[in-house]
């Protein structure tokens, strides 16, 4: 595949998202803007997972943990700030915050830390065991969130208004979309840099041949763990954005459905393709909307599509697009 052609497809995809949101803004269709925002946020979550799953071959079925924790960090910080109940009084008093610029780094930090804990244990296993143990960790956190009443338990935690960003009216749909869109761009760039770095090279090699990477003196466990931590941090950021989009966070973001959906974005779009999660998230959200209009059972059709992709386009949407462009161009 020629690099310029695949670049053209990528540009089309990202420009298309921006264009759709701007058109919807001009036509006063806030629902469409919200859909576009959701795509951007889910794409960020997928890019996070793709680093582990696509580039590192770490099939995590527990990324809801990071998405959800990022979401809860956002919700908890905001609710404390609004209730004037300090979150901590020792070693210093911290009363929560409604500033996105403070919330994001904390969400990234906390979800990375969680990824470090979960990864450190899960990465001692491989294959199906890894899938199961990441799922088990996420389910543990899910049940904990349901049963812990302080932050709403099963009912979830409303945040009422969006958190603030200097110079932006975050409650205006298009302005909040633009925040998420810029973060998506930054995530894409960051991920492309990481993938091409020495670390990225080692990670992709480790996916293919652990023994070989070890034999050139690289600690594969450490490489995978660091990738898992970065992956968790990125997905956690997406979770924080999602809470602000909905002005609400509930245990459902921690459920295994969320893990499954993030995984579907990656697989639909194309594993280990930088823009795959964006393509996958876009397709998923649009299908949910279109098919959901026809039938309650849209998820069954989605399942059928997923099956087709796995069987006939193992490199996902991006792989198929690149291939057809090449054969026609």
């Amino acid at each position: 595949m020629s690099i310029t052609k695949s670049n053209a497809i990528n540009t089309l995809l990202i420009a298309g998202l921006l264009f759709a949101a701007l058109c919807a803004h001009v036509l006063s269709e806030p629902f469409i803007i919200t859909m576009a925002t959701k795509i951007a946020i889910f794409a960020i979550a997928g890019i996070g997972l793709n680093l582990a799953l696509g580039y590192g071959g770490l099939v995590s079925f527990g990324h809801a943990a990071f998405f959800g924790i990022g979401g809860y960090v956002c919700g908890i910080l905001a609710s404390h700030a609004r209730n004037f109940e300090p979150l901590t009084t020792w070693p210093f008093e911290f009363s929560g915050t409604t500033s996105m610029l403070v919330i994001w780094p904390i969400a990234i930090f906390v979800s990375s830390l969680l990824a470090l804990l979960i990864g450190a244990i899960s990465l001692r296993t491989t294959g199906v065991y890894f899938i199961m143990i990441t799922l088990a960790f996420a389910q543990m956190i899910f049940y904990f969130a349901i049963s812990w009443p302080t932050y709403g338990g099963e009912d979830g935690l409303p945040t009422y208004v969006r958190n603030s960003f200097p110079g932006v009216n975050t409650l205006n749909p298009i302005e909040y979309f633009l925040i998420c869109f810029v973060l998506l761009l930054i995530t894409l760039i960051l991920c492309s840099i990481i993938v091409n770095s020495r670390f990225g090279l080692a990670l992709q090699a480790a996916r293919q041949n652990v023994r070989r990477v070890t034999s050139v003196g690289i600690d594969v466990y450490k490489v995978k763990l660091v990738a898992f931590v970065i992956s968790g941090g990125i997905t956690g950021l997406a979770g924080a954005l999602y809470t602000d989009l909905n002005r609400f966070v509930s245990p459902s973001v921690l459920s295994w459905h969320t893990s499954g959906e993030i995984m579907i974005f990656v697989i639909l779009g194309g594993v280990a393709h930088l823009f795959g999660p964006l393509a996958g998230a876009a397709l998923f959200i649009v299908l949910e909307f279109v098919l959901g209009g026809f039938t309650e059972y849209w998820q069954m059709w989605l399942g059928a599509l997923l099956l087709l992709v796995v069987l006939y386009a193992p490199k996902g949407l991006m792989g198929a697009l690149n291939a057809s462009w090449r054969s026609h161009g």
Binding site: I193, S197, R198, F199, A202, Q208, D219
Partner: protein
């Protein structure tokens, strides 16, 4: 008398009831090629894995450059200067030849946790990688995917990666495997050049290659030391011929 760079005492490895290596002693001196030969299943590959740290031994002492390396992981041993090749080529298939060597240069440099600089545009990696690829005779194949290389070229790539580690010792597990009797001229020449870089523990099935390259030979049979001596002594040893049961030892 020079101190050996690698000294192994009593290396033992059990697989269930099977004793693959049974108190194997071995040493490697600077500048020499010390071959380990023996019939199939004698424990040669297992011995290399013990030295490289891929298997945990049941017992045995492993000294490298005067230090006990028993507690080091395989990656740490590789970084310390033990570079190995695999009996069955084991490279990164979706990488091209150059990227494979680049990975080895990077591993030896110890700077894997660098996240922002493009590896393929890093002269500190590309320069040496290109050089070592050339040394292994693959300069024309640098952008070919490892999975598309011929069997012989993959053997060369294995050696390029070992070279790129700039090791203190080479551990070569049947570098001529699958090449055919006498080995390939290209590979034999490359191996002969290798000894200038570092001493070699050479496991090889092809006797012609062994006798043309090795200074000393250790014969393993059923996991035990059978004979160790100069290439000349081992060639003349009648027990060795018997142990090989009809396998040809060239006169």
């Amino acid at each position: 008398m020079v101190d050996p760079i690698l000294r192994v005492k009593g290396a033992t490895k059990h697989f269930g009831a099977l004793v693959a290596c049974d108190h194997v002693d071995f040493d490697l001196k600077p500048g020499e090629i010390h071959a380990v030969i023996g019939p199939n299943g004698a424990g040669k590959s297992t011995f290399i894995k013990l030295v490289a740290g891929e298997h945990v031994p049941n017992s045995g002492e492993f000294q490298f450059c005067g230090e006990n390396i028993g507690a080091l992981s395989a990656a740490q041993r590789a970084k310390a200067g033990l570079a190995r090749t695999f009996q069955v080529s084991s490279v990164v298939n979706e990488f091209n030849a150059l990227q494979n060597v680049l990975l080895a240069v990077q591993g030896a440099s110890g700077e894997t946790f660098s996240f922002f600089k493009s590896a393929m545009r890093d002269d500190e990696l590309m320069g040496p990688a290109t050089k070592f690829l050339m040394r292994a005779g693959l300069e024309d194949r640098s952008s070919v995917l490892a999975s598309d290389l011929s069997h012989g070229e993959r053997r060369q790539l294995e050696i390029a990666m070992a070279l790129a580690m700039e090791p203190k010792v080479f551990l070569l597990d049947e570098p001529m495997a699958g090449i055919g009797p006498g080995g390939s001229k290209v590979l034999t020449d490359i191996l002969d050049q290798l000894r200038i870089e570092a001493p070699i523990l050479l496991v090889e099935h092809d006797m012609q290659v062994v006798f043309s390259l090795a200074d000393r030979i250790t014969v393993l049979v059923e996991g035990r030391n059978f004979v160790t001596g100069s290439a000349e002594d081992v060639r003349k040893n009648p027990d060795v011929k018997k142990a090989y049961l009809g396998e040809v030892v060239p006169e």
